[in-house]
Every structure is written in C-alpha cells, then in structure tokens.
C-alpha cells in the first residue's frame, strides 16, 4: 500500500514485506497498488533546483531519467533504476546542475573581492611581496576534522630581495645550510615544531629576522676564516699569485731587468689574463673553454711560442 512506497524497495528481500505495513490500503485509494511516481507529474521545463536543492541520495521516483546501472544479467541489460542499490550508493551531483551552480555563485558573488590590478604578474608580486608563506589545509571524512599536518608552515624568500652585502650573504648561506637553493636563489624555512599554525608562522618570521640580523654582525672569530672555509676562490694573496709573481721576477732577473716592481707586474695584461683563467677554472670547474684559456695565458706568461 502507500506505507510500502514510503520505504524504497531495495530488492534485497522482495518477498518479505516491511514489518510496519499492515497490508490494509488507506481509504481513498481504490487499488492496493502503489502511488504513481512523481516523475509522471513533472513538467519538462520545471525548476530542477527545487527538486534537489541539497545533496540527497538518488530517489528513482524523483529523477525522470531512464538510468540503468549495474552488471547486466546473462543475455540482458543492466538493471533499471527502481530498487537499484548501486545508484543509491554512489554520490550524485543532481543538486549541482549548471543552473543551480550559477544561482549559488550569483548569491555568493557579493562576498567576493577583486584581486588588485597592480599585481597582475608573478614578478610584480615578488617585487612588492618577496616573502611567500605556504600553508596546507586538509578536508576528509572521519571522526575528527583535525589533521596534525595542518600546522606546518613554509616560508620562501629570495636572498636577492633581502638587503645583504657580500659578507652577510655568505654568512647567511653558511648559517642556513641545506635550506638554501643556489640555482633559484631561494631560502626555504619549514617550521612545524609548535602545535598551532599561527605559532609556527611567528616562529618562522622570528627565524628569518634573527638570520638577517646575525648575518650582518661580524664576530671576532670570523677573522680566523681559513682558505678551506672560503666559498669561492680568491686570487689575491693566494699561492698561485705568489708563484706567478716569483716566476716572473726570476725571469726578469735572469734577463737582467731589475727595475720591475710587483705592482707593475700585477697590473700587466699577462698576469691579469692568468688570474682570470685560474679563477674561472677553480670556481666554474674544468670546461673546454676554461682549459684552453688557461693554456693560452700560461703560454703568454712564460713566453713560450708553440
């Protein structure tokens, strides 16, 4: 009767009727058959968002589509929508048809703001706002809405945007270690030691402040920096410079020209060439170009024609 139609038949046990139905039809219906489904009374141009205003399970009597779903029986077709558990199980998007989405967005548009037109490219964003902060939010079904990974905060800055001189830049790179990427010139600080995201963000900013100020200070023990600690090769006061000058002085002495001074030799073209080639070799590594340049400069230095 009508009581039966209130509970959609799932086809699991078609023989056993629902315990609450008495089998007696309500007065007003002549046959103990079921009420015709709502789909028969639906107009073609009806407002669908009032049929499915929110997320609801699939109701075969409310959806006027001839859908079939499931594995077909042998030499048959997939089962129809009436009593189809597969259609009820899968999440449907009947409440999110394009007209419904447009209505929702039209109502929500009042709460939105425009992106400032002055910041339309990434370069401008970086120029005005050099620090980027990355946070992650997690949404999932479960007993708890909390996710412990949500407290992690990552700060990214390009060192070229910070006001650092030569010494400060080298010091901050040494302090920071692995967090600096030389190719992109990006310093990445990831903080997750505090339980809340806000605290991690404050700690990250504090770290950046401390690094910035510490790198500008020069400690007393920094004067003991040895050649092994240097990040790049510096030719002045190095063994290579001393050897080259000694060799040239001895060559000049053997040719009996005694009135050349070290400064003159240093300023001469040949020594400058040699210096450039040695610095390039040490800093950039051994490439075809560098090696040939070194060869030419040594030939000119020692005056070999070959």
């Amino acid at each position: 009767g009508p009581a039966l139609s209130a509970f959609p038949c799932t086809g699991l046990s078609p023989a056993a009727p629902h315990p609450s139905c008495t089998g007696k039809p309500r007065t007003g219906h002549s046959t103990p058959g079921h009420v015709p489904p709502r789909t028969e009374r639906m107009a073609v141009d009806q407002d669908w968002s009032s049929v499915y205003p929110t997320a609801a399970s699939f109701k075969p009597a409310s959806v006027p589509l001839p859908i079939r779903m499931g594995y077909p029986v042998k030499r048959g077709v997939p089962p129809p929508k009436e009593g189809n558990l597969e259609l009820i199980k899968i999440p449907n998007f009947l409440h999110l048809t394009p007209p419904a989405i447009r209505k929702h967005c039209a109502a929500l548009k009042d709460f939105c703001t425009e992106w400032p037109s002055a910041l339309d490219s990434d370069e401008k964003c970086e120029q005005h706002f050099p620090i980027e902060i990355e946070t992650v939010d997690y949404v999932s079904a479960g007993t708890s809405i909390r996710n412990p990974k949500a407290r992690v905060v990552t700060l990214k800055v390009k060192l070229s945007n910070l006001n650092l001189d030569d010494h400060a830049k080298k010091k901050i790179i040494k302090l920071v270690g692995e967090r600096y990427c030389k190719d992109t010139d990006m310093l990445t600080i990831t903080t997750d030691r505090c339980p809340l995201r806000r605290q991690n963000y404050d700690y990250g900013i504090h770290l950046l402040t401390v690094l910035y100020h510490e790198s500008w200070k020069t400690e007393i023990w920094e004067s003991e920096k040895t050649e092994e600690d240097m990040e790049e090769y510096i030719w002045e006061n190095s063994r290579s410079q001393r050897n080259a000058l000694d060799t040239l002085l001895r060559i000049k002495a053997s040719e009996n020209i005694t009135n050349v001074t070290k400064e003159e030799l240093l300023a001469s073209e040949i020594v400058k060439n040699y210096k450039n080639s040695v610095v390039a070799l040490k800093n950039e590594g051994e490439t075809e170009n560098n090696m040939s340049q070194y060869k030419e400069s040594v030939k000119k230095l020692l005056n070999i024609q070959a």
Binding site: A107, F111, T113, I131, E134, A141
Partner: protein, 184 residues
C-alpha cells in the same frame, strides 16, 4: 578563520531555501571591515577519491564555480592513481597457501587557481568543501604573498629594504577591505 565561521549561517540559508530567487537580502548581509586582506598567489586543490567518475563530476562543478566567481583557473591536471595492495590469509585457521588480495585505488585531481584574495578564497573554498561528495578528501595548499617586516634593533616592525623600491611602511595594496559577513 573567523570570517569563514561567520559565513556558514547565511550560506546555508542561501543555498537551501532561496537559491532560486536571487535573494535580494543577501546584499545587506555584506559588511566591509578595515582588516587588510591576505592575498593568495596560488591555491592548489588536490582532491582524492576512489572513483574516477565522481572526481570528473566534481572537477566540472569546481571549475564552473571558479569561473562564475571570477577566479582564474591556471591548470587542471590528474596525477596518476596510486594503488595500495595487501595480501591476507583467506581462512581463519591454517591454509597458508590460500590467500586473498585487496587493493585500494586513489585517484587524484589537481586544480590550480591563481591570484585569489582572502575573501574570495574563503567563499570559494567553503562552497567547494561543503559540496565535497562523501568519500572524497581534499588538501588545499595556499601560497600567501603578503608583505611582512623584520624587526630591527629599535624593535619597530620595518619593511624589508627592497633594493629597487625605497622602503614605504605599509603599501596601499595591502590595505584592501576584507569583506565579512554578519548574521543579520
């Protein structure tokens, strides 16, 4: 966020009851506050689900919603699925040679949105997350680009001294009004 917490009441009323007629009362619920707006350079939504078809429908919904709200969608791509398999004994007791294998397939969908303001992000994310289907999870990676300062010795918050632009204390760009929603 406080703004998002205040959004749920009017949003529920709008979507459930009066979505059909563009509710004229919605505009009087909008109030503009003086709080500066956070600017998101990039919003990266990673949606994970067990069913590819559900994710496809969700992608259609999320992309259309972004377009209607005026958010530029940079990229929509589907990273390859991951399958987690494990093997268990088929029987309760003995029969070691007979096992049964289960697997869990996770399909991914990644939506990258560009240049979203804080209010718009709050609205869009709440809308899209409330309509997340059952059994689907989401991770939202937000990249905020906002000026922050570094304290110097005088304990005042200074801007970073950028090489090109001379230090101006608070850029007018940060002081966008933050749109909040009130209950009336």
């Amino acid at each position: 966020m406080a703004a998002a917490a205040r959004l749920w009441r009017p949003l529920w009323q709008v979507s459930a009851a009066a979505a059909a007629r563009a509710c004229p009362r919605a505009s009087c619920r909008v109030s503009i506050s003086d709080e500066p707006e956070t600017l998101y350079k990039r919003l990266s939504l990673l949606v994970k689900g067990h069913d590819r078809a559900v994710l496809d429908s969700y992608e259609f919904f999320a992309v259309l919603a972004a377009k209607e709200l005026g958010i530029s969608v940079e990229k929509v791509h589907r990273p390859p699925k991951t399958i987690e398999r494990f093997t268990l004994l088929k029987s309760v007791h003995i029969f070691k040679k007979h096992r049964v294998q289960y697997e869990m397939r996770t399909h991914y969908l990644c939506l990258e949105l560009k240049h979203v303001t804080g209010s718009t992000a709050a609205v869009y994310l709440e809308y899209v997350q409330r309509n997340l289907p059952e059994g689907v999870a989401m991770e939202v990676k937000k990249v905020i680009t906002t000026v922050k300062g570094i304290k110097d010795d005088s304990k005042h918050l200074l801007l970073l001294e950028l090489k090109r632009t001379c230090g101006f204390v608070f850029s007018p760009i940060t002081q966008l009004p933050n749109i909040t929603y009130s209950r009336n």
